[in-house]
Symmetry: C2
Subunit: 431 residues, 2 copies
């Protein structure tokens, strides 16, 4: 069977909290003024109480609210595919499976957490949610989610990608979201960077600072599309579904490749499997694939650092290239982040997650092979996972080993076609 589906009844009813299975919790965020662990009160202006509770929860399973599940069922379970045509093209004895989150309403996995975050915000009286977005997938997801839960949305869109991917701006505007290129002239930090360079390309770090600056009086809250524990938590529905789908083929992966930017896609597909490793039920290699030009896990230092450029967040223990690092102008905007999810960094340190990086030109080549064989155009971010899977499958061919490989196509690439055009024309700025 090439496509493996789940019925509505089979969709997992809970998020999986990997922290509950860890023998040792990740180091806590610190207050930069005192260097003491932050308490919930520091997060209260930013997030609704329910999400702060999830951020520090030790519960193994956290129930998906009915109102969120109802919307999930409009696009979930997303299909799991066996990449039969890609396997044949590569001539590999390996089996390659891919989960396809590009089938979500907005075209990426970001909607999974956007809906949950919008729901909890609405429950607690939020009127407007501010956020940043890199490639724009997250902004699209939150625009839909806030509209569905009858709130306003203010998006700071990294200027480079605002220009690279203008269709995503129009998409957000179809949901009445207000979208500003970041750095913008609407915040202090934005004006500071615009003063340095009126065409500043921006970065996720700057956009986060701008969005956080807009938080106000309990009715304007902030939302993050990756990095934090509760965001990764919401994405675990992906891996849980994938596990059930693989069971229908009597399979369990030997290795999982996930693209890595902030960590939400990798965590979503891999955490339910890493949980099996921690609890010694199964063995599976997990590999984070990041852009060579933004090598957070492979070359960053594991240390306490700020999550944003203006240094307004708490300090997070994570791999970081420095909060002032501005990544090169690659197409995979969702991966242009100086830091990493603390939880993922912790799992890398503990040996549960391996890391690798790849060149943009090789990523785009992998994307083209995948498109031509599987008929699905992946987002450039997702193509990092494809690159990992193809390399592994070719290694299997060389060694004659029959591994089962799992990846997540976290988003489709319909709105990344300008980037693919530059690739096809040999005009990519970053090789």
């Amino acid at each position: 069977m090439t496509k493996i589906s789940l019925s509505d009844k089979e969709i997992p009813t809970h998020y999986y909290n990997i922290i509950s299975d860890l023998p040792e919790s990740p180091p806590p965020p610190l207050n930069p003024e005192t260097n003491e662990p932050i308490g919930p009160e520091m997060l209260k202006p930013l997030f609704p109480k329910a999400l702060i509770e999830q951020e520090v929860s030790q519960e193994k399973r956290i129930e998906i609210p009915d109102e969120v599940m109802e919307i999930y069922k409009r696009y979930r379970a997303t299909p799991l595919y066996r990449a039969t045509r890609l396997e044949k093209h590569l001539g590999t004895p390996a089996k390659i499976y891919y989960k396809y989150e590009g089938a979500s309403l907005t075209g990426s996995h970001k909607l999974n957490t956007a809906l949950a975050q919008a729901y909890y915000n609405k429950q607690e009286g939020t009127k407007t949610i501010t956020t940043e977005t890199g490639a724009g997938q997250w902004g699209m997801a939150l625009s839909l989610a806030t509209k569905f839960f009858d709130m306003k949305c203010l998006v700071f869109y990294v200027r480079l990608h605002y220009k690279q991917k203008p269709y995503r701006v129009s998409y957000m505007r179809m949901f009445d979201a207000e979208v500003l290129p970041s750095p913008s002239n609407q915040t202090n930090i934005g004006r500071k960077f615009l003063k340095e360079d009126i065409n500043h390309p921006g970065s996720l770090g700057i956009a986060i600072s701008e969005a956080m600056e807009k938080v106000s009086d309990g009715t304007i809250k902030y939302s993050l599309g990756s990095v934090l524990n509760h965001v990764l938590l919401h994405q675990t529905i992906i891996g849980q579904e994938a596990k059930l789908q693989l069971e229908k083929d009597d399979e369990y992966p030997d290795v999982i490749y996930g693209c890595f930017g902030g960590g939400s896609n990798l965590s979503g597909i891999a955490f339910p499997f890493i949980g099996d490793v921690i609890t010694k039920k199964k063995k599976v290699r997990v590999v984070a694939v990041e852009p060579e030009s933004c090598p957070t896990l492979t070359k960053g230092e594991y240390k306490y650092d700020f999550g944003d450029t203006a240094e307004t967040t708490p300090l997070f223990k994570m791999h970081s290239l420095g909060s002032d690092f501005i990544p090169p102008k690659i197409q995979a905007g969702g991966l242009r982040y100086h830091g990493a999810a603390p939880l993922v960094s912790h799992l890398v340190e503990k040996g549960y997650i391996e890391t690798m990086s790849a060149k943009q030109s090789d990523i785009m080549k992998a994307a083209k092979i995948f498109t031509q064989t599987e008929g699905i155009l992946p987002a450039p971010e997702s193509a990092h996972a494809i690159k990992g899977a193809i390399d592994e499958a070719l290694q299997c061919k060389k060694n004659g080993t029959k591994k089962t490989i799992l990846i997540n196509i976290s988003g489709n690439g319909f709105l990344d076609l300008k980037g693919y055009e530059e690739f096809l024309d040999g005009k990519l700025e970053v090789k």
Copy 2:
């Protein structure tokens, strides 16, 4: 249940040929030189034998080849949704259901026939398929299909939309298709129009002429994305699935709205239901919705006319605005055609299909309401069906009647966002 799925086993195994149920066949195409019905030999240079047989078949059910079905199962059955959030927004007692063909690999229903046509061409030795495309959805579908069946693809893309929707060009190129703006300098007819106007916006009629001019020596064949009987036939899988899905909700539509350009979307969703009307099993109204600026069915004359602008096709009995009609520059490029599927015209004449038209600005407004409530961004073409459904639902509200309305969202609008941007900015060229 908001989303109704079908299992792989429930996918219909045959195309439904409505001609078999018609008491009277539609008037045949004529040879323009003799005014006699054309024989299969006139079509032989253009199409493989199997498709010519389907074009004139009287069989009720035509089996879907295994090789095609295997690929269908990567995206079929497409979901059928109950538009619960739209209904609530409108406050209507009507039930609105929509089939979502935008979930196909290429984002539209066009893939259903592209795969079938590519398969039969490959079987009979075709090396290259040439075609025209309006909005680009058809070109995308054929690019994928030819690559899957290991052939080359040459696409004449109506210049207006080639510029309006450049992402679709890049998409086709990801599958190695050669894409030319039409009129192009690669054909006699193209050069003729470029001489008149170097920036000629083009039309489907001109692009068809160019593609047909490229047909050669049995290895370069031609393919059409709409209008012809065999194309409409392949799309009937949509309506057959929808019928099975509605049965799971114990429903049968009172009325079906379909957007109308050449006829393939309307036929796909409606023919299996019109078959029930012809055979007196059920009653259902079917309404074709077309752009006010290209009013083929509502204002065209029912007569024999050419299918293309260069007058190289046979004569078809159809509603036509004249083969030299160049439609205004609307976003719904898939509906910019001077003619109509002869089979649809016949059914309009016989009273099985009603017609209406709508202004572009109203179409875009309907699209925005649908996007905000259902979370699915429709192609502007599909938004014509939405407009029909919304008007009907509001009429139901006024009258307190509980009709069941069915539409097909034939394509998603991710690559039409430039058009939506013009709408949001109040800059649409055609009102």
